[in-house]
């Protein structure tokens, strides 16, 4: 922290279980930028968070020399642009960048809501519908992976890039969900062989391995979170 090579003061407000928080953590690791990780307490929001992200009141928030940057994928792009000397996260070609942003947005807008839907479903029907959507999404992402990686390990090619971070940050939750749903296969050796290989490589990457939590820890945390969601739904 004291010796951050003129990177300025870098703080990240977040929490270890959040896949969205994992994204800037991985990005900062790729750039070898040290940062102070300010973890929020589960169930409450700090004054700093509320002041730094008054619009959404959500984590992650990057504070770079006390200036806040919010929204995980936007933070990752910011990190890539500021620390441009380090390994690049977004591709250099404009069309490839549009494709990368497209799939990162897809993960957030189409795929992830079904994770929440499946985990906190109030009926068997709702759960199955969410799982079906997730499986459809996995098939699409498998296709995207094959097309974009062009035979290399990652969506980003030889090294992890924007889509890898956006989707890879979901892996701990994805694995936990498979267990919590009684062995449902989202990463499927037969249906998504590319993603299975990719998931192993991504998880083992030096920028990732200390950030992605163990599946068991997420399962424990998920129980707390699901209880909270259900309580909120019951009281509204």
């Amino acid at each position: 922290m004291a010796n951050n090579n003129n990177n300025g003061d870098v703080k990240l407000i977040g929490a270890w279980p959040s896949p969205f928080v994992m994204r800037p953590r991985i990005a900062l690791n790729i750039k070898s930028v040290e940062y102070e990780f300010l973890q929020e307490q589960f169930g409450s929001k700090s004054d700093l968070l509320l002041k730094s992200n008054p619009v959404h009141k959500k984590i992650p928030v990057l504070l770079h020399n006390d200036k806040p940057i919010c929204e995980s994928n936007i933070i990752v792009e910011y990190i890539d642009e500021v620390w441009s000397a380090g390994p690049s996260i977004l591709p250099s070609d404009a069309h490839d960048r549009a494709v990368a942003r497209f799939w990162a947005a897809y993960v957030d807008e189409k795929w992830f809501p079904n994770v929440r839907g499946a985990a906190a479903a109030s009926s068997e029907e709702a759960k199955n519908a969410a799982v079906d959507q997730l499986k459809e999404g996995m098939a699409l992402l498998e296709g995207a992976y094959v097309e974009i990686s062009k035979g290399k390990d990652f969506f980003g090619g030889e090294k992890i890039g924007f889509i890898d971070i956006a989707f890879g940050s979901m892996l701990a939750w994805l694995r936990a969900l498979q267990v919590m749903l009684g062995g449902v296969k989202l990463l499927d050796e037969e249906k998504t062989p590319g993603l299975c290989k990719w998931a192993a490589k991504f998880s083992a990457d030096p920028a990732v391995k200390d950030v992605l939590p163990e599946t068991e820890k997420i399962i424990e945390f998920a129980k707390l979170l699901v209880a909270k969601i259900k309580a909120a739904a019951a009281s509204s």
């Binding site: 619009v55 770079h64 936007i74 792009e77 910011y78 500021v82 069309h95 960048r97 549009a98 497209f102």
Partner: protein, 228 residues
Amino acid sequence: MAKEIKLLGTWASPFSHRIELALKLKGLQFQYLEEDLSNKSQLLLQSNPVHKKIPVLIHNGNPISESLLIMEYIDETWQHQNPLLPKDPYGRAAARFWAKFIDEKVLWTAFKAYNDKGKEQEDAIEEFSQQLKFLEEELKGKEYFGGERFGFVDIASFFILQFLRVLQEVKEAELMTEEKYPVLFEWMEKLQGNEVVAGCLPPREKHVAYVRARRAAAEEAASKTKAA
């Protein structure tokens, strides 16, 4: 030259208007293809198989979808005039943040505020009002969201807010008023007075009639579902 750039859009969609304006600001020739959303073209379905939505930009045969992403693509590919995003990373992050806020929060909350009933509508009206206050605060003291010149956030938000004003007229609800949001209204007037920007807006009466018809159809379909 014109064949290189195609825009698949619809005349009534604010997302489509964004791209028209971005292309015009860059001085680009393009072929505009009006889509019939009840009968989507093969080209649209091939170019955007995941979402099957407009707008889609096709440049040298390569399709790009999602209007904000298309705007970034346009800005990065044609850098010679009218930059849409600022150069500094913090300014870019802020611009992306506000544009995303419009698309993910403001638009959907506004729909509920204008179209829902009962408590859901009340809550949405409250939330919408708070969101407009955030925008008003962000704009205060500036000519445009982009600063001295209009840019990414201005383009992203202007057409959406204009669309919402059309919806407001159809629903006869006074949620966005000059009294409550004087800064936003002054900014909208400024942009309406800009020829290039105004040229991307459909005729007001036509837009109102269209949205009115769509709302009537949606409400009828909803009441049939309830009755069934």
